[in-house]
Amino acid sequence: MDDRKIKLLQALEYNHRISVSTLATMLNLTEKEVNDLIKEMEDVKIIQGYVTLIDWEKAGHNNNVTALIDVKITPQRDVGFDVIAERICRFPEVTSVYLMSGGYDLSVMVEGTSLKQVAFFVSEKLAIMENVQSTATHFVLKKYKQNGIVFNDDKKDHRLVITP
């Protein structure tokens, strides 16, 4: 892959709000190059999207319940787990889906506004799907770290203002 693209992705990975002009200066590219490269990578879905990581708890607006669900599945001829995984992905309350090694097959993360709502999703939508053998639902009690970011991490700079 184009070296410029790698450099750009590395710079964007943890901070996509960095301005185009800063990116250009940082990577010795022109602003046009940066814009074109980003556009290109968005088009071919190398860049899949940009999200804001929110500590809803801190915002005092935590109506969300998150659950991790271990799902066991009977794989289907020719397509394995893909078709059923894609079907699960379509539900908007599902925030991530991974195929796992080990004791179960899919790890599905679900967000809802209440325990009841999530339980409803599991029992009425997920568990009854064809090829789903079983589910085990674990509710998240507290988030400490997500996507590489530690919640409530006081990033204080302890260095002296001037040192040799």
């Binding site: 450099k7 590395q10 710079a11 901070n15 960095i18 301005s19 800063t22 200066t25 940082m26 990577l27 010795n28 700079d157 260095r159 002296l160 203002v161 001037i162 040192t163 040799p164």
Partner: protein, 396 residues
Amino acid sequence: MTRFVNKKIAQMPYSGIRKFFDLAGGMKGVISLGVGEPDFITPWHICEAGIYSLEKGYTNYTSNCGLEELRREISRYLLRRYGLHYDYVNEIVVTVGASEAIDIALRCVLEPGDEVIIPEPCFVSYKPCAAMAGGVVKTIATRESDSFKLRPEDLEKAITPRSKVLLLCYPNNPTGAVMTEKELQSIAEVAAKYDLLVIADEIYSELTYEGEHVSFASLPGMKERTVLINGFSKSFAMTGWRIGYAAAPAEIAAAMLKIHQYTVMCAPIMGQMAAIEALKNGEGEIKKMVLLYNQRRSLIVNGLNRAGLPCFEPKGAFYAFPSIKATGMSSQEFCEKLLKEEKVAVVPGDAFGECGEGYIRCSYAASTEQIVEALSRIEKFVERHAKRQRAVYAVR
């Protein structure tokens, strides 16, 4: 009770940095590009090794020269990275930071009146340490037009019959200059011709952004006349752990060890344990930090140039050293005003030697956001003062 204080010490000036520290220390909302240490905290696996050592009850002295395992890892590292062969048994001394290594290296070789040649601008401790060790300091000014590299002909000119030591620091603090193998070779020839001992402070060796760092001791015939100094502060973001080391011919290492054992006994054990982990498993973390430093390097160099402060391209360390001559201000004046008016702290170049006058040191061991903000303040500042300067000329 100044009458008790040794005259040499009494006359020694405080580091030029201290004044700025006093000035900036109390101010709120300052963005600092004045810090000579990484903004990263020590990689977690290294911290954990230090914590684990405490949990295990390693709270004792180590052998004077440092833990055997650490010296062995240092020896392996020097071979792996720079092709150097040092015997961990008698050629490596673990010190309290590179700072101590610089001090004891000078103290164990200098006789009163011996001359120490120091290219400037340079790290603040070199001259005082050489003077305290009884040496006579001979500085050589390096120039921006030479990318702040030491020229062999300048070195040769500075040599007298009393010259004994050449103190080299590349990648350089404060300029960020590096020297290539070929350029170092030409210095090596002069060192051999005049039988100089070279103290090579290579603490920034891992922070080299173009090409590979060449260790002075790896040049043909140089190992026997080199004291190599390195450490963990910059490469592994471990300034607070206070671990450095010197690698030197056995006789010199033994002499350094004498001073070391009587003054500090040994470097702290938890730092040594953490350093072992750093050398064993830390290279991936160095790569990550170097990647980020390198992005910021372009950001700050381009930004300073745009702001009207022409900046030579630093190839190592984490400092940019732009010229402020166009502003008509002295380095001190520039830095004081910048701090007061825009709350950006940088260090005046003359703190690193007379030839640093007309420059400022901007550390890019700061986050991208801080650098962007600092640059925009610097740009405003320069523009405002350029206008003022034009106005002054117009009145005249």
